[in-house]
Amino acid sequence: MMKYIDEYRDKKLISGLADLIARSVRQKYIFMEVCGGHTNAIHRFGISALIPDCIRLISGPGCPVCVTGKSFIDKAVAILKLENIIIATFGDLIRVPGSASSLEKERSSGSDIRIVLSALEALEIAKLNPEKKIVFPGIGFETTAPGTAVVIKLAEKDHIGNFFLLNAHKVMPPAMEAIIRDGTNIDGFICPGHVAAITGSSIFNFIPEKYNLGCCVTGFEPADLMQSILMLVRQKNNNSPKVEIQYNRAVTETGNLLAQKNLSEVFEPCDDCWRGFGVIPDSGMKLQKKYEKFDADKVFSPVISYTEDDGSCICGEILRGIKSPADCPLFATVCVPENPTGACMVSNEGTCNTWFRYKING
C-alpha cells in the first residue's frame, strides 16, 4: 500500500464520483488542465472515459519543457561551444530540438552534459570540478524555482564561483490570463496543485473575480481529478465561479511561506517569452542584481543567430488550448518521442507525448 496514492485510486470511490458527475451535468463544459502532470494523469487513468461526453478536458501551457522557447536551447548550445563547460540538466531538456541542434546531439559529438535530478546535484558537480564552469538550465514554474533559489543562495554562501544558472523559470497566472484574453473557450480551470502548494490558492483569485471563471486546485490521483471535475461542474451549474481547493492535503490559501521567501530573496519578476504565446508581461523570474554573477546569460552572453520557428509543428496552438495533437499532420508519423519534432513530444508531461503513449500505444 502506498500512502496518499492507493486510497485515491479506489475503484468504488471513483465510480461513485463518476455517477455523481453524470447526474450533475446539464450542458456542455470545457475545462482546461493547466499542469502537464494533470494531462499525464488524465490520460494515464483514462479519466475522459469516466465522464460524460459533454465534458471536454483540454490541455494548457503547463509543461515547463514545452513552453520553453527554442532560443533557450540555442543559447545552451552556444554556451557549450565555449571552453571548459559542463551543462548539468534535467533529463527532459536534452531531447528538445533547438534551431539546429539539441543538447543530446551536442552530447553525442563530445560535449560534457550531465543529467541531474535536482539543482543541488548540479551544485555538487560544480564543487567537484573547480576547473570547469557548470551551467544549470533552470526551467520550471513556481514549484521548481524555490529549489533553484536555494541553490543560488548556497552557491553564494559557499563562494562557488563556477556555478551558473541559465534561467527560464516562469510563473503560471499570467499565462492563464493570456489564454482567457485570447478568447479560448473554457468554463473553468483545473488548477495546478503543486504550483499552488508553493504559492497558495489565492494566486488564482483574479480568475473568478475578473473573468467569472471557476477554478479548482487539484491533486494528481484519479479521485482527486474526478472530485475536482464535479466541483467545477457544480460551480458552473450554480453560476458561482470561485477558487476551491480540492487538494487540501498539500495546498492552503497562503501556500508555503518559506519557499515564497526564498523565491523573493533571489528572483524578481520580468517579462518572459513562452512558446506559442510570445512575450507575456511579468510571467518570468530573473535573478536579482546581487546574484547576477550566477547568471549564465550575463556571464557568457551566448550569441545565437536567428532562431528558426517550428515550421509545421503546432505545439504553440496546442499549448494555448486551440488545437490538439490530432490536428498535427506530423503527430505519430514524423514526430515520435524518440525523435521529437517539437517540444510537446519530449517530456512525459507534454501533451503530444502523453497522447502518443496512451492513445496510440494504448
Partner: protein, 75 residues
Amino acid sequence: MCLSIPARILSINGKMAEVSAGGSIFKAGLHIIEDARPGDYILLHAGFAIQKISEEEAVETLRIIEEMNNSLNDI
C-alpha cells in the same frame, strides 16, 4: 521533470533527508519546509521537499468523497 510524488522521510541529516517513495530511496533537500521529522510525508519535487502532506486533510478529503457517494445511494 515536473512531477511531485508523496514520499516518507526515513532519516534527516542537517538539511538533507533520505526519503522513500514507491519502493525507492531518494535524497530530498529540506531547505524550504519547516519542522520536518522522520515519518512525515512530504511532496518530493526535483530533489526538494516542497510541502508536508497533511494527514488530517488527506483523511478529510476521503471522508468528503465518501459522504458524497453515500448521499448518492440515498437518491
